[in-house]
């Protein structure tokens, strides 16, 4: 072994500090989800009033199902995003397939609402700029998520960013189910579509911010 490598190893060994929770992403995931939801609530409050107009859920099982599917998609997307921050020989496309499938099913179920709405369409709770809120409210959570994953070792920045963006965008989109008017076309156009756009923003941000080091 040459001298420079020996020297490097000695320096690296001297610089090694104990690691807290090695290889764990669950802690970061829970923290990020809590912050992302908190930021979304704060963003919506800044954009206007927060009136929960559809509650309790058990009276509308289809609506409850839609909402739970949304929650599951958000958790799966965020979990996959943090997992891609850990080096793994598994292809990234295999890591993202299930969360994306869950997201597609969630959007599919909402599209089914065009034929058979979960609730009677209503203008109750209509917000003036819900699409803008759905688009912008997710961005701080996305940036925060990128900063958190950056501390790991992401190898596929664009994918990680896209997953974080989709999760960040889906949170306000899901919140709008409860606080904005209920009409399937409106939901798809003004709540879900801006959420998906946040995914694109995430992909761009991720490819820049989460480049392999």
């Amino acid at each position: 072994m040459n001298k420079s490598r020996d020297l490097l190893i000695a320096e690296l060994a001297a610089a090694a500090t104990p690691v807290k929770r090695p290889g764990q992403t669950a802690h970061q995931l829970v923290l990020w989800l809590a912050l992302a939801v908190g930021l979304s609530v704060l963003g919506v409050l800044l954009g206007g009033t927060l009136v929960v107009s559809r509650w309790p859920l058990p009276q509308a099982p289809q609506f409850l199902g839609e909402s739970l599917l949304g929650v599951a998609a958000i958790i799966a997307l965020a979990n996959a995003a943090f997992k891609t921050g850990i080096p793994s020989p598994v292809a990234v496309t295999r890591q993202v397939v299930w969360p994306l499938l869950l997201l597609v099913v969630w959007i599919g179920v909402q599209s089914y609402g065009l034929i058979d709405p979960a609730l009677a369409p209503s203008m109750v709770g209509k917000r003036a700029h819900c699409w803008l809120e759905a688009l912008l409210v997710g961005i701080p959570a996305l940036v925060l998520g990128c900063c958190a994953v950056r501390r790991l070792w992401p190898l596929h920045g664009a994918w990680t960013g896209a997953l974080l963006g989709l999760a960040s965008g889906a949170i306000p989109a899901l919140m709008m189910q409860f606080i904005c008017m209920y009409e399937p076309t409106h939901i798809l156009k003004f709540h879900v579509l801006p959420g998906l756009a946040t995914g694109l923003v995430g992909a761009v941000l991720g490819s820049w911010l989460l480049r392999p080091r």
Binding site: A13, S88, P89, W153
Partner: protein, 185 residues
């Protein structure tokens, strides 16, 4: 996993777990073994590349910077070689490395520089850079690294048939690019 792999796996995983607790002697020993293994790995997989030692040291620094992402409950070798693989391919992709490799390839065995050969190599590098990352990776492994399709498939974590299809698509993309520029295929 053969006996050597298994022994390495157990020893390295234990050392890394100790290193994560801050045990410096184990960590230095681990880095020494990883350094030697990385050197062999790069030689076997990528052939003799320029600045091999630089590449090995980059990999060691990458392992050091990523050590907090290793979960001691999981296998160590797949985690390690994912980092080494990405780091090595990154290094190979860097223009400087490509150009220095190009210079050495453009010089004939007798040590005489061949301008035509240099130009052909430059065309090759330029077209390779235009391919998608997946195609470029496949071509690098199969054509420059000299892997078989099965080895490249294992390397990339895909099935052999997917690797074959990816290689065919990559070669088709190169043929198309050469055609578009009126260069001989």
């Amino acid at each position: 996993m053969n006996k050597t792999f298994l022994a390495d796996e157990q020893r390295w995983a234990a050392w890394m777990a100790c290193a994560q607790r801050g045990e410096l002697v184990d960590y230095a020993q681990l880095l020494r073994e990883i350094g030697a293994a990385t050197e062999t790995y790069i030689r076997v997989r990528f052939g003799t590349i320029d600045a091999l030692e630089d590449c090995v040291q980059e990999c060691l620094m990458a392992v050091h910077a990523a050590r907090h992402t290793y979960d001691p409950r999981r296998l160590f070798r797949p985690w390690l070689f994912t980092i080494i693989r990405h780091k090595t391919i990154d290094q190979l992709r860097q223009r400087q490395t490509w150009l220095s490799a190009l210079q050495s390839l453009a010089t004939t065995e007798s040590g005489v520089s061949d301008p035509d050969r240099s130009l052909r190599m430059l065309d090759g590098v330029r077209i390779l850079e235009r391919l998608s990352p997946d195609h470029r990776e496949m071509i690098t492994l199969a054509k420059y690294g000299g892997y078989t399709t099965a080895e490249a498939a294992t390397w990339l974590g895909i099935t052999e048939s997917a690797a074959k299809a990816r290689l065919q698509r990559a070669l088709a993309a190169i043929r198309k690019a050469l055609d578009n520029e009126g260069l001989p295929v």
